[in-house]
């Protein structure tokens, strides 16, 4: 890494529909390292695909710069950008054999015939489709077509590969094995991958870094571990995995942490991690970090409540505990040794966790407002600014 493959500087995109302008991408600044597996993750309409299409050259940004190894690509037509894309629907040419599909890019570059044949054949080996070169795309299964699409892009040795939900059309088992295969391919060829997905599991499994997008902007940027373990905003906490969100009023702030004491031994402590101290706190904690006890366990964060629901889910059992009117904490209790229930509906229990698992979410007011206004994602950008 070190060198930057793709940089987005203040990139915005506005679509002019019939009578209104839709702000698809609000303002995105990103820096993607050479050789990195970088994911754009978000719900549909968050602007991730538009961002990818701007990098590919299918859409021009209304504002900002898109640099490929330091050279601005804005205004450069897609066919002159040294990038290749794997499309969600694969977009294989139905009237050509898969060999001709894979050779298409090299032929446009007017490479010698022998070199084309050699590179295409190598690619068929890489994606494990040797001997099927003469088939038509529709004579192949979804997984095979997906691999042809990958080969067609990689054979050109692009400076970066753009992938638009390439596994979306595959069933779960195949998707999981293709995830690992894609990751292995990426390591073998060492090309920068920019991967668009709405599947958080996929992004967590494959990526070096993830940009979580919402309503046309990047909510959080970090490694899979960072965005999962320490979500920065309510949106990220909610979109990636599930989170318990507790809204509290701070009673004291000391030495880089805020404390909300509710009395009767009930309290929550949240480290500030360089954030501004404030009175209104929105604290996120992952369900698997939460413990369950019948007596106050003396932890940093503990609340008492009544068990409302017990759902057995195989590897864990989910306990929903009401800790205050309208406030629920879910605890995922691992069924590691004993799968019998530790509490029953109606029991009074204590939920607890260590303070390092508490995350203070950024700017809860703004995010909550955008969510509660019911503005569709992708359109919200224009309205909230």
């Amino acid at each position: 890494m070190g060198e930057q493959a793709i940089e987005l500087i203040g990139v915005a995109k506005q679509f002019s529909a019939a009578e209104e302008n839709v702000q698809a991408v609000e303002r995105v600044d990103l820096s993607i390292g050479s050789g990195e597996f970088f994911s754009l993750l978000g719900p549909s309409g968050c602007g991730k695909t538009t961002t990818l299409r701007m990098i590919a050259g299918f859409e021009e940004p209304t504002q900002g710069q898109i640099l490929l190894y330091g050279v601005d690509q804005v205004g450069v037509p897609a066919n002159n950008r040294d990038l290749n894309m794997v499309f969600q629907s694969y977009a294989l040419f139905p009237h050509m054999t898969v060999f001709d599909n894979v050779a298409f890019g090299l032929r446009r570059k007017k490479l010698p015939k022998a070199e084309i044949a050699e590179r295409v054949n190598t690619m068929f080996e890489l994606v494990d489709l040797k001997g099927r070169e003469k088939r038509r795309p529709r004579e192949m299964s979804g997984g095979q077509q997906q691999r042809v699409a990958l080969a067609r892009a990689l054979v050109n040795r692009p400076r970066a590969l753009l992938l638009d939900e390439p596994l979306g059309a595959l069933d779960l088992k195949l998707r999981q094995s293709m995830q690992l295969e894609l990751k292995r391919n990426q390591r073998e060829v060492g090309i920068t991958f920019v991967y668009v997905t709405h599947d958080q599991g996929e992004a967590l499994t494959m990526s070096d870094r993830i940009a979580v997008m919402n309503a046309g902007h990047v909510e959080q940027l970090g490694s899979p571990r960072e965005v999962y373990e320490s979500p920065a905003t309510r949106f990220v906490a909610d979109f990636i995995g599930t989170s318990n969100l507790v809204e509290l009023t701070a009673t004291s702030t000391t030495a880089g942490e805020s404390v909300a004491d509710r009395g009767a031994q009930q309290r929550i402590v949240v480290p500030l991690r360089g954030q501004q101290a404030r009175d209104r706190l929105v604290v996120a904690v992952r369900p698997e970090k939460v413990g369950l006890a019948t007596a106050p366990p003396g932890a940093d964060c503990q609340l008492s409540g009544r068990v409302e629901e017990v759902v057995y889910q195989g590897t864990f059992t989910a306990y929903t505990v009401q800790t205050a009117p309208g406030e629920h904490i879910v605890c995922h209790w691992q069924n590691a040794t004993d799968s019998s229930d530790v509490a029953a509906v109606g029991d009074t229990v204590w939920v607890s966790w260590a303070k390092e698992h508490s995350y203070l979410l950024e700017d809860p007011g703004k995010v909550a407002a955008a969510v509660s206004a019911g503005v569709p994602a992708g359109v919200a950008g224009g309205a909230s600014k």
Binding site: A56, F58, N84, S89, A91, F93, P94, H95, F104
Partner: protein, 284 residues
Amino acid sequence: MRRKLAPYLLVMPGGLWLAIFFVIPMIAMVSVSMETGSLETGFQQTFSVHHYLDMINTYHPQLLRSLKYGLCTTVITILLAYPMAYWIAFRGGRHKSTYLFLILLPFFVTFVIRTISWQFLLADDGIVLGHLKDWHLVSKNFHVLATPYAVIGGLVYNFLPFMVLPIYVALERIDKVLLEASADLYANKAATFRKVVLPLSLPGVFAGVILTFVPAAADYVNAQILGGSGQVMIGNVIETLYISNSQYPQASALSSILLAALLLGIFVYARVLGTRDVLDANAG
């Protein structure tokens, strides 16, 4: 049981229709073509093929002219229709259906009336040529009617929609993401057209060619209204033999020859173009 019969029941109405109004007349036509006699003496079935030989000997210039006019018409309509269909399919935007409606609009006026209005427009001293002659832009004896140009022009005008529509449908069906994929793989606009759009639209062109060439080559209205004695097409000959001269066996023989010539032409054309590719692109 009912499930097994269902396909046959569904095919039956159309099948019966074709049997009664297509197969039986065809058999009758071939049968009549081998009869001998005249309206006065009566016709007897003699299984003779001499009408076929006579007809080819007598009317091969008109037959060849018909095929030539049909071919010219087809080539010109492709050249006119393809850009139109392309523009509507890719640049038509929200008004696509309006443009298609405009192309179909002439159909609301009868075929013969439309052709007669061309005769009126192109008349030697009509509203176009008359003025051009008054202004001395063309010479006094310049004429358009009774030339091959008038007949082929009329055929092109009348059959253009039959070419536009199938090409439009084929272009419209092309997944637009394929154009992006082509651009992504370094193809400029011209290469994308040559390698992706054109091959995928060929089934439409194929259909358009058949819909245009067959009726154009067999047409007699345009030659009769816009042409002169030098532009007589095989359709006119058949009409005269059948309706004016009551030479039924001869007319039937000539019709069978035309049918065979057209089928042969289509067969050769399909082989040259490669039906496999046509069907493949269609299925894709």
